[in-house]
Symmetry: D2
Subunit: 262 residues, 4 copies
């Protein structure tokens, strides 16, 4: 990526006002973004370098940022609760998913985690993602296409608790209501020593999933929750922010071992 | 990766006993791993598929896992405290670092974060890592070589608080004692809209870094800490683990904006 | 307190709908409480036993609870942020404040912590509370009177950072903007081995206070923060609540030692 | 309590070296405390004022503190895990227990919480504490006697899951393995609107207890966990401590409502 990349027609840009107010829009000629802090003309943005500070009609400065995968995910069209970036990062660092990995995902939803995983297995890896609700799968396909990640994803209108087609995959990642029902299929699909991860909001789902993993020969079973706290850093008045998300979900990790020998 | 990959001579394997007792060893003929649970002969492992359960001399079962990047990092030879996988994952998901990114790292240490970043920017990206202590750089080079990641890393015996050679990089990641001193150089090195992250154990470092970022035209400044809690999931007796790491460090994130226009 | 205590005219009652919707009202003849769930007539409550379930005009059930000191404090008229019950409990258990203790409080505010402390030192102890803003002191006096705790509190319109009149007190508790300025006076006022506690929202206040305590011969200096997380316990869907208060303040504790001997 | 209270023969004193090294000993003539930092002669302490700095045989300074109820509790002879002061404080502030309250406790253990509660209901209140293991009850009685709190406690060698003798009590506090079995008895024993609290390490215990509370007409059911984090406050290097207790237990709170009317 060059030193002074400019915004081209059709690019997605993130207009940044402050941490809580950012706008993901496509830079199209004639388009306007209406905010409570005035109107930003995308014509003022096209041809300018990223990082550029554009003025709205009311003189408010917005910074034109090139969206990262996190920005895209947080702004995605979605119908369901998505896994948070903090949890996505943890799934990546704990499973080892990276360039070249072949990953099965259960519960595409609207494709947020799919996008994150696809981004990280490029260019040789691939995500096989299962979803039973056709309307969600459609939104997910559109979301993934918008990010230019379609080449790395295979969408499957199928119930992962009924079976997984792939074999020898490096990881299976679940975000479904009854992950324990997919555990036997995950075992079949994974290469020996491959990584399993499952995200669940309730402790009851966790306990059932852990039991299923133990029963199916998984090892290195680990359950974590990740709490993210924001700090307001200002000389003389530094303190944690007043509110935080106290819970998103638990993540269960495991590795596939081969059966004991007779 | 195939369905039944076998352990070859010279491979690193992770011998798994339980979550707290794992052993990373090279599978060399004639080698023995001595543990308090008996001796494991690597000859018993070579030629077996990953996921295999091997018996020690005392009849204790160990599972032969193929180490993930996380396993490698946690077992690396190191002289310094390393950034934890939970924080590495967060750095990845919050900055957008992924395949193809060019990243400057300040504070190689013994190369743990370097390895993680190199693993994730493959095959087209590159890590430029700065370290002032030659003995650390040497250990880091060896660690990175052992992981087969040397092609993706450029080691620099230089002080990042004195300057950065690269220009137009996608991200600058710091793990040094005085990150605020490197902020002006990070600004120079980054492409506009590029990502900055800095890891620091103390709140004083955070406040100084945030002040330097504000003074140098960074936006989207965000300070977080990530608390990871382990859960013991067992039917009828599920509870969080008694102890946890209460602190590793704070992470400061920011994005480079262009200067305001005259 | 008897087996079937009844609500008498003039009693304060807590009308409970759910954890987030409770109403503290005085049971006066003819009075009505208007809620979005209908009107509760206090005439329907007077003469009934505590614990009684009263119906509103729309048929909604409210439970008539006898307010605890916590209920009173959370419903107090206030102009300022109060210390939370979780932190009040910690102050009590960490300092040893209990029946009979003589306690100096700096920063009466509208009297929330004053009420809690007064309640707990009864019947022989006493709270000496300092406040510089007369309008706050007035509200505090009214609040304390309403709770029937006036006999245990001495209100002082004075700046605790200028001095403390009392000597030999068992504890000094501060909730002021610059607690470090009151530390020398706290030292003078405390009996040797007496307890000090100071509540502050920012880490900067904490550091200054700790420095002042070290400089003035305090020992057992301890800084804590208390995070309270609520759990939604429901068979099959138990999980922590989504949101929590991430920060209220830090509490600094210390004990007075005598000076080193010459 | 006077200005310069002195240590008398037979007093318990807390010899303070640092936060992690404190020693609770009885000041008896001729007695010596042997520590890894030298020997402290109690003869050097008797007759000195509290807050006095005494030298050990190796020249190490110890501060002579008058133990608070928290110090006593943390140093108590015990056979079981005790409830932590942070949780004790929360129980107090959330239930309203204070001077004059009559409280039933289930699960005396070695009397740590008993002591805390007895201390706080003085001088008119009373604790009725149930324990099935006679050897524990004996230790508890000794512990309570040592603190001079015996007048406020009635010890009962009985199983609280079988029944509670008292009626109209202000609060019932449980720290037993199966609190749900004591819930019906707690309902009988409590005055209407009285407070219930139960401490449990596992989430399974919590769920069962909450279900029992709902089934028996309790309201204001609230489940919390309290996380305490220590901060190392030092100018220029302030940060949370590295390790913390991640879990002690959950606390379930509730209030007794009267049954719905026919």
């Amino acid at each position: 990526m060059g030193l002074s990349e400019v915004v081209r027609e059709g690019d997605f840009v993130l207009l940044y006002l402050d941490l809580k107010r950012t706008f993901l829009v496509r830079a199209k000629p004639g388009r306007e973004l209406h905010t409570h802090k005035g109107v930003v003309k995308l014509d003022d943005v096209i041809g300018q370098p990223y990082g550029f500070r554009v003025m709205s009609s009311t003189g408010q400065e917005f910074v034109v940022l090139k969206p990262t995968i996190r920005d895209f995910i947080l702004k995605m069209r979605r119908a369901t609760q998505i896994i948070y970036p903090k949890d996505m990062g943890l799934i990546l660092s704990f499973t080892g998913i990276g360039p070249g990995w072949r990953v099965v995902e259960g519960g595409t939803g609207t494709g947020a985690l799919t996008a994150f995983l696809a981004y990280h297995v490029r260019p040789e890896g691939r995500i096989y993602t299962y979803e039973v609700r056709p309307e969600f799968l459609k939104v997910a396909e559109e979301n993934i296409a918008r990010l230019g990640l379609s080449d790395f994803v295979e969408f499957k209108l199928a119930d992962i608790t009924e079976g997984i087609d792939e074999r020898g995959v490096d990881a299976v990642i679940l975000d479904i209501a009854s992950p324990w029902e997919a555990v036997p299929h995950a075992y079949e699909a994974l290469r020996p020593s491959g990584s399993f991860a499952s995200f669940s909001p309730t402790i009851d789902q966790v306990v059932k999933t852990v039991e299923a993993l133990r029963a199916h020969g998984f090892v290195a079973i680990e359950v974590v929750e990740c709490l993210l706290r924001h700090i307001r850093a200002e000389p003389g008045k530094t303190r944690p922010e007043w509110l935080m998300r106290a819970h998103t979900g638990y993540i269960v990790f495991a590795r596939k071992a081969l059966p004991e020998q007779a």
